[in-house]
């Protein structure tokens, strides 16, 4: 439609509506909560940007400890590197959900956290230092999962792991690969963080709900992340809830498989981040601000039968998921092997949440997921 048409139509509509003797008073605070700009601003300034900053802090420590280990591989530098890797991996769970805007442009997740890692591929890349790390086939040869293998999986104990890196001919190639991975991650992450500096203003200005609007991008990325990367990736695949062959699950496909005792902590962190984002929790102060929850409340989204607010339904479901995660073993591989039903229960609770987020929340918000014409059927 041409601009002129739009202006004419707007003018006519305004005339009609004012002729209806409309309410000319200021909207009450309840109405303002339907404005999306304050929500986008809060997301950018108090959640997304500071989360990246916090992650970058932990990540930088990991890079420097990794460099120290590469320079002088010994038991002490290995332990220090590993501890920094654990911290950074845990903090990563708080930013992986922001795969829109800059992170989406650089497909950060694909280079940071695709698992299970490809052990043979890593070996091939170590022998060929010029092997591409850009192609999709290389996703499983880099990022945190590759580092997991490289610092936890290449030997049966620390002594053996150190020996792997001090071997006379192969050792330097192996340490070089660690440095190659961390510096590559650093470049990508720095790009994303730098770009948020300029993207922030664009982000808060696109206040619509169409497919290219900021709210649209965020909600679609948020739901996709929860469904595919938390529910399916962290729980569904290892437990066999989403795929089994002859009834056998895949316990070796957990996140941080080689570290063994980290997988549960990572799921918990990721779930908490998703929950915090829903409630608009400021990652610095911990207080709640404008959010998906407050927006749904402003829209009066609720269960027609019981009158329960949709935001409450979602909060309750988060509690249920957290409750089901609580008793699990820190080592999810072990959990699958000893009592897989507890994993399947988590999956079921998450599956319920996927439906609520993907259908009830997006429908109540009228978030568009496609760009084609639609006549509402």
């Amino acid at each position: 439609m041409t601009k002129l048409n739009k202006i004419t139509a707007l003018g006519v509509v305004v005339l009609i509506l004012s002729a209806c003797g409309g309410n000319n008073g200021d909207p009450s605070p309840g109405e303002n909560a339907k404005d999306r700009k304050p929500i986008l601003t809060h997301w950018a300034d108090n959640i997304i940007v500071p989360s990246y900053a916090a992650f970058k802090g932990k990540f930088d420590v990991m890079v420097s400890k990794g460099d120290a280990f590469a320079t002088a591989p010994d038991a002490a530098s290995l332990v220090a590197f590993r501890a920094a890797w654990v911290d950074a991996y845990a903090e990563w769970q708080k930013v992986e959900l922001f795969e829109f805007g800059p992170a989406d442009r650089y497909t950060l997740r694909s280079f940071f956290n695709i698992y299970p890692t490809d052990v043979n591929g890593i070996a091939a890349n170590i022998s060929d230092p010029s092997a591409s790390l850009d192609l999709p086939a290389s996703y499983t040869r880099q990022g945190f999962p590759a580092l997991d293998y490289l610092i936890n999986g290449v030997g049966s104990d620390d002594q053996a792991i150190v020996a792997y890196y001090t071997a006379s001919v192969e050792g330097p190639k192996r340490t070089a690969y660690i440095k190659r991975l961390t510096s590559r991650m650093n470049t990508l992450l720095t790009n994303v963080i730098t770009e948020w500096g300029t993207y922030r203003d664009t982000f808060i200005s696109k206040t619509g709900l169409d497919v290219s609007s900021s709210t649209g991008l965020v909600v679609n990325a948020y739901v996709l992340y929860f469904e595919r990367y938390i529910r399916t990736g962290k729980i569904g695949i290892p437990s066999g809830a989403t795929v089994t062959t002859a009834g056998v699950p895949y316990p070796e496909k957990v996140e941080a498989f080689y570290k063994k005792d980290l997988s549960l902590a990572l799921v918990k962190n990721a779930t908490l981040a998703v929950q915090g984002f829903f409630n608009g929790k400021d990652v610095v102060t911990g207080t709640e601000g404008p959010s998906l929850a407050s927006y749904l409340d402003a829209l009066e989204a609720k269960d027609a039968a019981s009158g329960t607010l949709l935001s409450t339904v979602i909060k309750n479901q988060f509690s249920e998921i957290n409750g089901k995660l609580e008793p699990l073993s820190p080592n999810l591989t072990q959990q699958v092997q000893t009592n897989n039903q507890a994993m399947l229960d988590v999956y079921a609770a998450m599956q319920k949440m996927v439906r609520i987020l993907k259908v009830d929340m997006t429908s109540a918000m009228s978030v568009t997921i496609t760009y084609t014409d639609n006549d509402g059927d």
Binding site: L209, V248, V359, S366, T372, D373
Partner: protein, 448 residues
């Protein structure tokens, strides 16, 4: 009745309508092409949801561009009235073929255009101000049978009235749904945006929209209210163009409604166009367009049957039990437009007797649009289930069973399962019969 069929009227309104229709369809084709939708909707998908009974309609791959080009060419030829019968038949066939490729792209206004094009094949819209009439003076006529022009008007009236009747339901009138959800999404529009934060505005729009649809046909038919009615048409459709992503539809309806104006208006339009392109307008030619008698014998009953079918189709839903908006049995081809905010989730599990099991990632098989449409429409869920059955059988699953975990929210109510999760869909067959595996929604929407 037979006297009515003898009456003649000016050929100008049909000629203007022909030109406008041709140009608008041409514009739509160009728009579709420019936006890259030919690729996105008709080439990229791996699987297509054909209409029941139209399984022979196959996607054409890269030749889809040829199909669109042909359609655009026919549209231009119709506009110019060049080889009109052939061009209008070609336009109907190509346009309809495109729409039949994939149900996910079904829109009421595409169906509207298909049906209008079908009628146009048989109407003498080329009797004046056309290349054909210019070259063939025997064809050139200032008058055409009145029923020809009236047919177009009648069809437009049916569309509006049915769209209005469809709004007479409790969700639309009593809950202001779905506008109550859709309008706040537009609260960032300049000037009018903040109004959409008020619930009463959603009610006002719902009721005015319903009154508009029910009354506009009569306002346009009546000489004294015609100008006011046309003003309402323009305002209503421009407003929908601002608020909703409905593409060309508003402009098509704005232009189509011109057909209700008397012949002198159309003669003027043709006069202006003729002056622009410097051709004789000949709109007052003395000839009268007459169908050969045997053609009339076929055509009159054919048009009667066409309109009877059109009048009956929107009510076929009463033959199905259950809630129409929920099961959508008898929903399409009924001018039910903008009535539902419906969202769904459908997760399929395929398994076999040997313990193989996989939860399907729909994005491996369907585009975003297809998945969205499939998740809320049972017939598409069944088609997709059969596609999965065949796919996984080829992957080594032995007589795969297909189950769906579905969840659908309608007009602001929280979601509920749409399909019985215990039904093995690979054994269910598509037909016009009621689908017993559709679960009840647990609520009733009263009205039409």
């Amino acid at each position: 009745m037979s006297a009515y069929f003898q009456r003649m009227t000016s050929a100008a309104p049909l000629a203007v309508f022909r030109i406008a229709l041709g140009l608008l369809i041409f514009g739509s084709m160009v728009r579709f092409w420019a936006k890259g939708w030919i690729h996105d909707l008709y080439i990229q998908p791996k699987f297509f949801f054909t209409f029941y009974g139209f399984g022979f309609v196959k996607p054409l791959g890269a030749y889809t561009y040829v199909l669109f080009a042909l359609c655009a060419l026919c549209a231009v030829m119709v506009a110019f009235g060049f080889l009109y019968r052939m061009a209008s038949a070609g336009l109907f066939l190509t346009f309809t073929y495109i729409e039949l490729i994939d149900k996910s792209t079904y829109l009421n206004h595409y169906y509207f255009i298909s049906m209008i094009c079908l009628m146009m094949i048989f109407l003498p819209a080329h009797a004046c101000f056309s290349v054909d009439a210019f070259r063939n003076k025997k064809l050139l006529s200032g008058k055409v049978p009145r029923w020809c022009v009236d047919s177009v008007k009648l069809f437009v009236c049916l569309v509006y009235v049915f769209a209005g009747i469809a709004k007479l339901n409790s969700d639309w009138l009593l809950q202001a749904m779905p506008l109550r959800i859709w309008l706040p999404a537009k609260n960032d529009l300049p000037i009018i945006g903040p109004l959409f934060n008020y619930t009463w505005v959603a009610y006002a729009f719902s009721w005015l929209g319903c009154v508009y649809d029910l009354s506009i046909a009569f306002l346009l038919l009546n000489r004294r209210t015609r100008v006011v009615g046309y003003g309402a048409v323009v305002i209503f459709h421009l407003l929908t163009a601002i608020l909703f992503p409905i593409g060309m539809f508003p402009y098509i309806m704005i232009v189509t409604a011109l057909v209700f104006f008397p012949e002198n208006v159309h003669a003027k339009i043709i006069g202006t166009m003729a002056a622009w392109i410097r051709v004789p307008n000949l709109v007052n030619a003395s000839g009268e367009y007459k169908y050969p008698v045997r053609v009339t014998k076929l055509l009159k009953p054919a048009f009667c049957i066409f309109f009877l079918v059109q009048a009956a189709l929107p009510f076929r839903y009463v033959l199905y039990p259950g809630e129409l908006f929920w099961s959508e049995q008898g929903y399409r081809f009924s001018w039910r437009v903008m009535l539902m905010e419906k969202a769904g989730y459908a997760q399929f599990t395929v398994k076999d007797g040997a313990g193989k099991q996989v939860v399907v990632d729909n994005s491996e098989f369907l585009t975003t649009l297809q998945e969205k449409m499939m998740a809320t429409q049972p017939d598409m869920i069944l088609q997709y289930a059969h596609m999965l059955r065949d796919h996984f059988a080829a992957q080594g699953f032995r007589s795969p069973e297909v189950y769906v975990d579905s969840y659908v929210a309608l007009n602001g109510r929280l979601g509920r399962p749409l399909v019985d999760a215990g039904t093995n869909l690979s054994n269910e067959h598509e037909s016009f019969n009621d689908k017993p595996w559709i679960l009840p929604p647990g609520y009733e929407i009263k009205g039409f």
